[in-house]
Amino acid sequence: MAIQVRIPSVLRRQTNGDESVALEGQTLSDILDGLEDRYAGLKGKLRGPEGDLRRFVNIYINDNDVRLLSGPTTPVSDGDEVTIIPAVAGG
């Protein structure tokens, strides 16, 4: 089993229309590295030059916002689902 990554429509131009992709890794950083390796166009979209998550990108591991966990260093394990969602709010 691997880690399933869900990609929002706003990024699917870079992923050739792929809505999700299975990747392997120990941490969220590994997953994002794998994502950028597979889709070169994603480089710089999700993370800044220092590897920090971009301000308007929300990433969830299963149900949890990674900013409430350990950010890019958050560990991931087989069967986890990583969801990328642009920041929108206001209710």
């Binding site: 706003v10 301000r55 149900d63 900013r67 920041a87 709010a89």
Partner: protein
Amino acid sequence: MGFVLGMKCRECGAHLPVAPRAICEECFGPLEIVYDYDAISRRVDRDALVARGRSMWRYRELLPAGDETILGAEVGFTPLVRADRLATRLGAREVYVKNDAVNFPTLSFKDRVVSVALTKAREFGMTTVGCASTGNLANSVAAQGTRHGFETAILVPEDLEPAKILGTTVYGARLFGIRGDYDQVNRLCSQIADRFGWGIVNVNLRPFYGEGSKTVGYEIAEQLGWRTPAHVVCCMAGGSLITKIAKAFQELQTLGWIGAHPVRFHGAQAAGCNPIVTAVKDGSGEIRPVKARTIARSLAIGNPADGYYAARVIRDSGGAAEDVTDTEIVEGIRLLAETEGIFAETAGGVTIAVARKLIQQGIIPRHDPIVLVVTGNGLKTTEALAATAAAYPVIDPRLDQFEQAVATMATGSRPMAAATPTTIRPLSPSSGPSVVGVVPAAARPSH
């Protein structure tokens, strides 16, 4: 189309044509509307505008919709109340309340943003509109969506205040209660907007929707006689409103309709959900999401999308951010009600209580003009007051009992605020016990 030149990314500056989208494909930054202010100032001036109908749409050239048909032409232009009795209690000299608790049709400032979003949804040819909401937005999308013939899909945390649930379903709107907090509801709504071609007002219609909030700022300036106050205190959930009031003042300056006087913007949150306040206070300006826990449900957004910009508006204007406890929120609601006869919801209590705190701390000088923004109506959040509800006497329809009750209330230290029943001695033993009693409102059937 009108005076809109297009859309622009707030982060990387990329320009895009107008479309139902909120996110820059290059950098994920939020998109905003670009206007041709020169053309606007040639088309309309203050005098022409004042002659128009008293609704938010009198500022239509500064809104990104409505070239053909306006949906919700009656929305807005709520009272700006000179609040002298409140000012006295706050120890300030000149205080105004912008009272969106009486907005049309659903008693919150969300009626403004929904009017713009639905007008735009119709222009885009959308037939279904929806939202993720903490309640007020749900009410407004339900009411206005139904009235204007849209299908609706409204998502809220399933444990919202009953009045906000009822105030959605009564219109026949399609409501989904989600087992989760607002941030989880919002996340699901983003995925729904991605999957279905619907107009989710605070997701893919967000750049248009948000512009509706500017009308709060236009109205404040016009109602003050085309000037700005020295201070604005505004509650913050997603953080958009405070930035849009600032933008409104900026635009009026650009048009030459008001002078360029500095306004300090102060942001108000509940202590149980204060990510924007924290970002201002720690100096970072960066939002760290929190798990919300407060009676101010309409402000319970732990991951505010516009928090970064709200913190920046506060900092750049020389304002402050402050939070208040649930107890202080209730005190704020009561203070506004008891001084000005305005019953605000919990979010309004946050604004009042934070204003009191900032004045006490000397951050807002007592002699400066202050506008307090009240965004929603207290009748939707009565639960928050249940524990402190005022007591009142219950008597038989007899004049002597009335006289007795009045006398008792006059002698008590503050009988109407008594939390426990105060029984008045019966006039005669044969009248039985507790003929005249003071019953706390909370102990009585509420409807």
